[in-house]
Amino acid sequence: MVVTRGNPARNRDPLRTLVFRLTAIAVAVLLVLSLLASWLALHSFERVLYPELRLKAAGVAEILARQINRALDYDIPLQELPGLAEALEREIKVHPDIAYAAVEAPDGQVLAAYGARPSRLAAPGGGLASEDYDILVPLVGHGQAQAQLRLSLDPAWLTRASTDLMLEVASVILVSVLVTFEILLLVVNLSMAKVKTRSLGAAGMAGAQQPVNLVFLRLPVFLFCLSEELSRPFMPAYAQQLAPTAPWLPVDLAVSLPITLFMLVWALSQPTGARFSGRVGRRSAFLVAAGLSALGLTLTALADHLVTFLLWRCVTALGYGLALITAQGVVVDHTTGKNRAGGLALFIGALLAAGVCGPVAGGIIADQVGASATLLVGAGAALAAALALVLLFGRDPRLAAEGFSAPHVGGHANRPAIARLAGDGRFAALMTLSAIPAKVAATGVLFFLIPLLLAESGAGKAEIGRVQMMYFLAFIIISPLAATLSDRWQSRRGFIIGGGLATLIGLAPLALWDQGWSAALAIGLFGFAQALISAPQLTLVTQISSRVRVAEITAIGWFRLLERLGGALGPLLAVALAAAWSYHVAVLGMGLLCGVSALLFGLLYRRAPPTAASSEMSS
């Protein structure tokens, strides 16, 4: 795949166009047929579920009737029976599938009631008449019926159950579409590579070396990132379960430590990982990284003590950091300043696709087979990533130790670079008032607070995964748009301030509501806000780097390293706020951190004169 810049209409890649068209076909067929299949399934489900709900409601009615009948046997008139409405209320509150309960006199007068009688009766399996939803039990005193008890099933409960199923199906479709896109891109490029090799042979240029096709890197990176993303919806809750094995550690800290340590090891592994990857070669480094991650995930799944759990998370993080810096190394080795943005966009595309697929798939798998089995699936995905790299690149010497010539990121040689960067007030402002607060909020809210907050309010792992997915989905959609607009309007500072304030606006509602769509909406807004910041931040880094005479890639390397170190603070800050107040207040605190930092950034970041340097990365 040739990565181009400039006029998109003129430079449109026909292969990419073909892949998009084919993906559109897959989406269309999937949507139509899965909707049809889901409708058939829901119809069958509700037909079976509804009688079971009626049976259960009849059981509730029988228990209530027995209590009331006892009073009638003592000759207490129903009108004077104390606590009748409260008894109805108590029962209805513990049975969400019952909407209404009432004691009715023979003339139809309601003596006591709780709830609202459903007016909308449209559940496919339940029938359409109001009687289909009512359970009537006579209230008997001294062998004579004196009144009746009416319980009404809640059709909305059936609708909610159906919606939940539909959301699950929709998640599977979304994941399938992204996986189809990844595989199609690969299949079409493989076909093209074969023709290209033969065409070169026919033209008498068989010996000419083809450039490394970076599209082949996408699938290994996608699978590798998927291995880690699968565990996002349940990692804090998993640590919470193991917390009692280390009673000397406060539970809140025990829950936040796995994420903090992961981020820390990941960040710190970058400079060493880059050197290691350069020394042993990209292929070997990626294979080692995948092996480390697979081992870490397997042992994490088997860990029965918090300390060993933390240790294996660190091993996984080491593998994760090494794999990502190696993959970035491959992109940097085989691109030039002209097409590096496109190369990195391919890499980031795989990362984001895994970010969308991972939490959803992980949540669903964990709900069905448990968290440990999901971690083992993750280990399998890491090994599959290694296998994909071997199959796609074979023994290409350009991925061996001597096959690269890119500058290393971080490390001894770059110490003066960080000194020059740190000496620049704008870089310091960008890091401390935008990049680090944004990363603190991302790790603190997305990976730590959301799983705990939603689990506390009764959400399953699949639902948590769906909510986390919204962040990446919004990011994928908005990020390219924000990059283009911030370039066109030359307004990076404005976008960063806007993104910080949008983070506050997006997260603030979560401080009040975490039910239903509100959490998904808030996290979607959070992803939108972070997408506004991402590309403009990198553009400013490249502008600063040219001003302080530091190589762009080095400046970006330091930017990423410092940002991830900040990210390690996210769960710690979140746990401190949650321990002092609550999860809701902690989310608000994270939003405030971003909002206030953005305002300070707006005040302190001095506008620089325009330079020739432009953004190298679109995301």
Binding site: L22, A26, L33, A37, E52, K56, L165
Partner: protein, 242 residues
């Protein structure tokens, strides 16, 4: 020979397999979720029996009686065991020994409480083995001490039969759908690749490539998209090499 037919076969195969797999997976997940919900409703219904027995037992315990002294529990258990799907109900002491039961043969035996999983609320624990469901609830005395358990054994055969019926129905109604999806996808891919090839060949007329020789992939104008794209790309490379 890589030409459009090979491309159609490859990408069509990939898309068709993914579409079929996605539909099958979506249905499987929906079914598993439904299975879970269906059993949850059954558990909630049988949980009413546990709660009712617990309420009556704890009334006696609150009066200061020992669990073993609640002689009238046998009648309560026999009445409660009349609920639909219930096999028998036991009252267990804190060692798991059966003190009272709706099935007199079980008196004095020790209950197997292995594999019980507590529900989210923590009030009930459950275990499903084959067709038998065991639901337990803790019994507390007036001082809040746990002195035993209510154990309700139920037969899930009717529920499993209902689920098997749904499974059969889904398979019979969706299998043709999946086959249809496969054929539709292959047709759509074939048409897309063919039309893309035509559009591309129309644009190619202005390009400085010589006509294709007979037998060379790409001849025919209608298709050979991949070959054309590769020629374009190689053309660009040749210029840069020269």
């Amino acid at each position: 020979m890589i030409d459009d037919r090979v491309l159609v076969a490859r990408v069509g195969g990939v898309i068709a397999a993914t579409v079929a797999l996605a539909i099958a997976l979506a249905l499987l997940l929906a079914f598993l979720k439904f299975d879970q919900r269906f059993v949850d409703v059954t558990v909630a219904r049988l949980g009413l029996v546990v709660e009712e027995v617990r309420r009556q037992s704890e009334t006696g315990l609150a009066l200061g009686l020992e669990l073993a002294e609640l002689e009238d529990l046998t009648g309560v258990l026999q009445r409660a065991a009349g609920a639909r799907d219930v096999l028998h109900i036991d009252i267990l002491d804190d060692q798991g020994a059966v003190l009272f039961s709706s099935a007199p043969a079980r008196l004095g035996s020790r209950a197997d409480l292995g594999g019980l999983v507590a529900d989210a609320g923590g009030r009930l624990s459950r275990r499903a083995r084959d067709h038998e469901l065991l639901l337990t609830g803790r019994l507390g005395n007036g001082f809040g001490q746990m002195v035993g358990d209510v154990a309700v054994y139920a037969d899930l055969t009717p529920q499993h039969q209902a689920l098997a019926g749904v499974r059969r129905e889904l398979l019979s109604s969706t299998a043709p759908l999946v086959v249809f999806a496969l054929l539709l996808t292959l047709l759509a891919v074939f048409l897309t690749v063919r039309l893309s090839g035509r559009a591309d060949s129309g644009r190619d007329q202005s390009r400085p490539w010589p006509p294709l020789s007979p037998g060379q992939p790409g001849r025919g104008g209608g298709g050979r998209l991949v070959v054309r794209v590769v020629r374009d790309k190689l053309g660009g490379q040749r210029k840069s090499w020269s």
